[in-house]
């Protein structure tokens, strides 16, 4: 999947779960410090990414992802692995 398209999809999911504007989300945006994600929301994000991209994310690894950009990288690997 083209990275730019993936970034947009990830931003859409993040915006929905964390209730922030898509325009405010950058690749370097940090989930906790910049967007105020609480611990429970990180679980929701993982679940939402899995549903959106039809992938399985290993819990411990997924929860180490701290920014939107690294989430995109993480998801891209899984999506490509699936193809």
């Amino acid at each position: 999947m083209e990275r730019a398209k993936l970034v947009e999809q990830v931003k859409k999911v993040v915006a929905e779960i964390l209730c922030v504007d898509t325009e405010e989300i950058r690749e370097e945006s940090r989930f906790v410090e910049d967007m105020g994600a609480q611990s429970i929301q990180s679980l929701e994000l993982v679940a939402a990414f899995e549903a959106e991209f039809d992938i399985e994310m290993e819990e411990d690894a997924a929860l180490k992802v701290k920014t939107v950009g690294t989430a995109v990288d993480f998801i891209q690997k899984h999506v490509e692995g699936k193809d």
Binding site: I40, V46, A47, E50, A51, E58, E59, D60, L63
Partner: protein
């Protein structure tokens, strides 16, 4: 003669309560099924037979030989660990025979020659072989199958256990401003227990037994039959209705009716728990409540493994596996079964079945933070209560985690497609 207290092939029916403990460790009345059975045994070397992944854990906890085949080379008394033996009468040895309750073995005396003849290395097959080939007799007895069988029998077991102790009276610190209603001889307050002012102990419908170091805080009402275990605390204003057993080191608040709290369980705040069995190190968040009666007054159906099972009982509450936690305001449906190490957060009336290790968040099933994080939390919780974390227990938990993964993952995936 040697004596084996064993688990038979029906242990899964006691899930999730039995996932990391042998069935005979479950409590009913004052203590565990194991303690009741042992009180009735004749002289002889004792051992246990449990499923293989609990072998090391049971050996550590009970300090007895476990799954030791040498027992099957002796004259042997076999006792089913699901037996709720409340009468305290001794099991008398005698001629070789199998004593059955329904189709299941209750206990059996087997000569070593017979044991040798039928032992092929598989314990369940051994039980079936002696059941089919050794002279048998029937006996009516409480051989528990399901978690709600424990709850159903708890009030009667409490009364029988109280009578068997032969104790009554107030030895501990009982405030002059606390009251006993009903027969004073139906109350026993242990020497190091404490009952604060403005507590009412109502023994008019059954006995109340308060163990050492237990404490009942002001404005609580305790209705018998009831057992309050060692170092357990009844929080201020609690409404403890009939038929409750609180194992050691529980903290209990709010309204509780006809329920068993195994041990080290927390229900600190308000909220109703009725006709339920609450596992070890479970924490029920403030205002967590369970329904134990359907609005149509029909017998309750439960969904172990997601499949319907009629209980035949009108009142059935929640059965919650060890280390599971609920958030504030969780509303558990009638006959809920929640596995071990679940995290359940509020989101309307909950589903009736939660697979072990699952997270329920915003009305959706999720994977949560993973097993390692859950183990870390369990270790922290146990250390706070000065309970040792046993590697054998961790082994059992990891085993159950793997065994239960398919149903958990399947449910999470199905949930995503809603």
């Amino acid at each position: 003669m040697k004596i084996l207290i064993y688990e038979d092939g029906k242990w899964p029916l006691m899930s999730p309560l039995s996932l990391i403990k042998p069935v005979f460790e479950l409590r009913c009345g004052f203590n565990s099924l194991f303690e009741k059975i042992v009180a009735s045994l004749p002289e002889g070397e004792k051992g246990l037979w449990v499923r293989s992944y609990l072998q090391k854990l049971a050996g550590k906890k009970y300090n007895l030989p476990v799954n030791d085949e040498s027992f099957l080379k002796s004259d042997l008394l076999l006792v089913n660990g699901r037996w709720l033996k409340t009468d305290g009468k001794p099991i008398l040895s005698g001629t070789e025979r199998v004593v059955k309750s329904g189709t299941d073995i209750l206990y059996a005396f087997i000569k070593k020659e017979t044991a040798g003849k039928f032992w092929n290395g598989d314990f369940e097959e051994f039980l079936q072989a002696i059941s089919g080939n050794v002279e048998s007799e029937e006996r009516k007895a409480a051989l528990l199958e399901y978690p709600w069988d424990i709850v159903r029998n708890n009030a009667a077991a409490l009364t029988e256990d109280f009578m068997r102790t032969g104790k009554s009276g107030i030895l501990g610190n009982f405030s002059a401003k606390a009251e006993i209603a009903g027969a004073a001889e139906s109350v026993f307050i242990s020497k190091k227990a404490r009952v604060h002012p403005f507590v009412v102990i109502d023994a008019s419908k059954g006995p109340v037994y308060v163990e050492e170091e237990a404490e009942i805080f002001p404005f609580s009402r305790i209705e018998g039959p009831c057992y309050i275990g060692r170092a357990s605390q009844i929080m201020p204003g609690a409404n403890i209705r009939e038929g409750n057993s609180f194992g050691p080191v529980c903290r209990i608040g709010g309204e509780v009716e006809t329920s068993v709290f195994h041990s080290y369980a927390n229900k600190y705040h308000d909220g109703f728990t009725g006709h339920s069995y609450i596992g070890e190190f479970v924490n029920l968040g403030a205002l967590t409540a369970n329904s134990d009666l359907q609005n149509n007054y029909a017998n309750v159906t439960v969904y172990p493994g997601g499949k319907p099972l009629a209980t035949g009982c009108l009142k059935v509450g929640a059965f919650i596996g060890d280390h599971t936690k609920t958030s504030i305001g969780v509303l558990l449906n009638t006959g809920t079964i929640a596995g071990m190490m679940c995290n359940i957060t509020a989101g309307g009336i909950s589903p009736k079945y939660f697979p072990s290790f699952i997270w329920y968040l915003n009305s959706r099933f999720m994977k949560g933070y993973g097993l390692e994080s859950m183990l870390d939390t369990a270790k922290t919780v146990m250390a706070r209560r000065k309970r040792e974390w046993l590697p054998e227990e961790e082994f059992a938990i990891r085993h159950v985690y793997e065994e239960t993964a398919p149903e958990r993952i399947s449910l999470i995936k199905r949930n995503r497609k809603r």
